[in-house]
């Protein structure tokens, strides 16, 4: 395999006493998709900021397209495109003017800018809206022009920080299609997301980050196997029954999580057969049940497995944390 297109080597970022990123390492082959999964405040954005030369690592380094972010930031900037968390296009310029501005700043000649702009606008279904101010665009259109602008200089490496956050499901699926096209054409993608499904759909490799550390890495399949194929979730009617219900679920052999407040128990499950058996066991025991069902693995389950706490516990907003 050739040298990785993307490489983080022990990246650390501290803001005063707060360690946002604590020794993150990973690598991605050229033409592959690396998904970075984690809750808000996990350090995803800070990692991306260091890899895109926006923030200087406190320790460690990273290489993008073979260039070191601290030693040769200008070469890194030439080799990559960045689509930040919030769409950072100029709202008072038209879509075409945004493409032209960034294209010129990359040092592209006028003819190339014009040709690339036309191609990108067509590719992102923005040709009709090209000469309208971006502030008139819908959320999905904004994301698309934002991505188009990042691609004006056809960078071999593209960073996407939560590209589909805030998009409706249809726009999200459309954007996924666009990203797949890019990868087919040889672009290396690093995308951060809070959604397991998104990483599942797009990524070849996933790194899971929490509290600034890589807590798991692997293919989507490997991660899902780690987090259990599916989970059995039971909500009992009376809190008094929690202990007995736990006993029943533990017969399955897996570890059972109990959420006392919600009177909810979660256990690994082999599938529908296990569900039927458990349902029968509960009926025989006389425990009253509000709800009983199978749940597919979600980011929460991955987190529950890996860290022992749920993803939502992390309520801190990453951007405010960064500004401390």
């Amino acid at each position: 395999m050739s040298a990785p297109a993307l490489e983080a080597i022990g990246l650390v970022k501290r803001f005063g006493d707060f360690t946002a990123v604590d020794g993150v390492s990973f690598a991605a082959a050229a033409g592959s998709v690396l998904g970075m999964l984690g809750p808000n405040g996990a350090g995803k954005t800070t990692t991306v900021r260091m890899m895109t030369t926006l923030s200087r690592p406190t320790a460690g380094t990273a290489r993008v397209a073979g260039f070191d972010v601290t030693e040769d930031p200008d070469a890194v900037r030439r080799a990559m495109g960045l689509t930040a968390q919030a769409a950072t296009v100029d709202e008072l310029l038209t879509g075409r003017e945004n493409l032209r501005m960034i294209g010129e700043l990359y040092g592209l000649d006028r003819a190339t800018v014009r040709r690339s702009s036309d191609e990108l606008l067509a590719r992102f279904s923005l040709t009709e809206a090209a000469d309208r101010m971006v502030k008139t665009y819908s959320g999905g259109m904004r994301r698309r022009i934002d991505l188009a602008v990042s691609l004006i200089a056809t960078p071999p490496v593209l960073f996407l920080d939560e590209p589909t956050t805030g998009l409706d499901p249809r726009s999200r699926v459309e954007l996924w299609e666009v990203l797949r096209d890019l990868v087919r054409d040889g672009t290396t993608l690093l995308l951060t997301t809070q959604y397991l499904e998104e990483a599942d759909q797009l990524a070849d490799q996933i790194v899971v980050i929490d509290h600034g550390k890589v807590i798991a890495a692997g293919t989507p399949l490997e991660l899902k196997q780690q987090s259990g194929a599916a989970a059995l979730v039971v909500t009992v009617s009376h809190a008094d029954d929690l202990a007995r219900a736990r006993g029943i679920l533990e017969r399955g052999g897996g570890e059972v999580f109990v959420d006392e407040g919600a009177r909810q128990l979660t256990a690994p499950s082999e599938g529908l057969r296990a569900l039927t058996q458990v349902a029968e066991a509960f009926a025989a025991s006389g425990i009253e049940v509000d709800d009983l069902g199978l749940k597919r693995p979600t980011l929460d389950d991955v987190f529950l497995r890996l860290t022992g706490h749920r993803a939502e516990d992390e309520s801190a907003d990453e951007t405010t944390e960064v500004s401390v």
Binding site: M1, S2, A3, A5, F15, A29, A30, G31, S32, T52, T53, L54, S55, R56, A65, G66, D74, R77, R78, A79, A84, A86, T88, D90, L92, L93, E97, M101, I102, E104, L105, Y106, G107, L108, D109, S116, E119, M133, A153, T154, P155, P156, V157, L182, V183, R184, D185, G186, T188, D200, Q201, L202, A203, D204, Q205, T219, P220, L221, V322, S323
Partner: protein, 300 residues
């Protein structure tokens, strides 16, 4: 999940990014092969972008057009009758240089609001992730702000001519006065850069700038002579950088009366004083502004 992704392997056609792999419909890696844009062309691109904002939102120009014209009308016709300046040309001639200096002081607003807006919306980050010169953004912001303010100076000069203001001297002296005014605007740009880098929102900028710049432009000889002020205020007003500039412009355009014998030092040498103030403010605030900008962007 699709079957081909389950393997986790890179697509077979993937190559090292340096390879001349056909990319995006046959285009090549434009950025890596293209030549770097010169600083001048980067600045030109960014200035054009800033000026397009004015074109799209002409109300951005209100601060240098309608607002000062309103001040001229207000002071010339409402308060003017009761303000004694002791000049041959009367209050309106005396007033115009004051309002021009005030309008130019508000250049700091324009810079600060533009910068905070760009920081807030992530535009600055997008620009910092590009292979461009670190100073291009700052230079472009200065140039477009000076253009913005200059539009105001032209509007004010025309308004002045309408209400009876005239230049009574020669071209070199008239030009020197305009030069001092632009130099003052340059100093104000650094004030704006500093405030813009330190503030978190456009609303905060407006709050801070309005409660500081506004009284500062009034505590001077802009609208009323300083001689009639209480002693402490008079001293403050006469050492106010704006007073030196306004006095210099009045003298250079022939709109001034005689300076009081007990006036503070800057008013007795207004041209030199104004020059020193503008240069001094720039020298002190430019490094502070650059540092605040770096702290805001690079440490985040």
């Amino acid at each position: 999940m699709t079957a081909d992704r389950a393997t986790g392997a890179a697509p077979p056609h993937a190559k090292a990014p340096h390879a001349n792999a056909p990319h995006l419909n046959g285009m090549y890696l434009n950025a890596m092969h293209g030549s770097r844009a010169s600083l001048a062309s980067q600045v030109r691109t960014l200035v054009r972008r800033n000026l397009t904002h004015i074109k799209r939102m002409p109300e951005m120009l209100m601060d240098v057009t309608i607002q000062p014209v309103m001040f001229v009308a207000l002071f010339a016709y409402v308060f003017g009758g009761s303000i004694q300046t002791g000049t041959a040309g009367g209050y309106r001639e005396w007033l115009l240089p004051g309002i021009m200096a005030q309008t130019m002081a508000f250049a700091s607003f324009i810079v600060a609001i533009g910068l905070t807006n760009d920081l807030d919306k992530g535009i600055i980050d997008r620009l910092r992730a590009l292979p461009i010169s670190r100073s291009a953004v700052v230079i472009a912001r200065s140039i477009s702000s000076l253009i913005h303010s200059s539009i105001g100076v032209i509007v004010m000069s025309l308004t002045g001519l309408l209400v009876g203001w005239r230049i009574h001297t020669d071209v070199p002296r008239a030009a020197l006065a305009y030069g001092l005014l632009l130099l003052w605007g340059f100093a104000m740009i650094w004030v704006g850069m500093f405030v813009g880098s330190a503030m978190r929102s456009v609303e905060a900028v407006q709050g801070v700038m309005f409660t500081t710049t506004f009284p500062i432009t009034f505590l001077a000889n802009t609208f009323a002579p300083t001689e009639a002020m209480p002693k402490v205020l008079r001293t403050l007003a006469e050492w106010n950088p704006i007073s030196a500039l306004v006095q210099a412009m009045r003298e250079l355009w022939g709109n001034a009366g005689p300076v009081a014998a007990d006036a503070a030092l800057p008013l007795r040498h207004p041209i030199l004083a104004s020059l020193l103030w503008s240069v001094g403010i720039s020298l002190v605030l430019a490094p502070l502004a650059v540092r605040a900008f770096r702290n805001r962007t690079e440490k985040a």
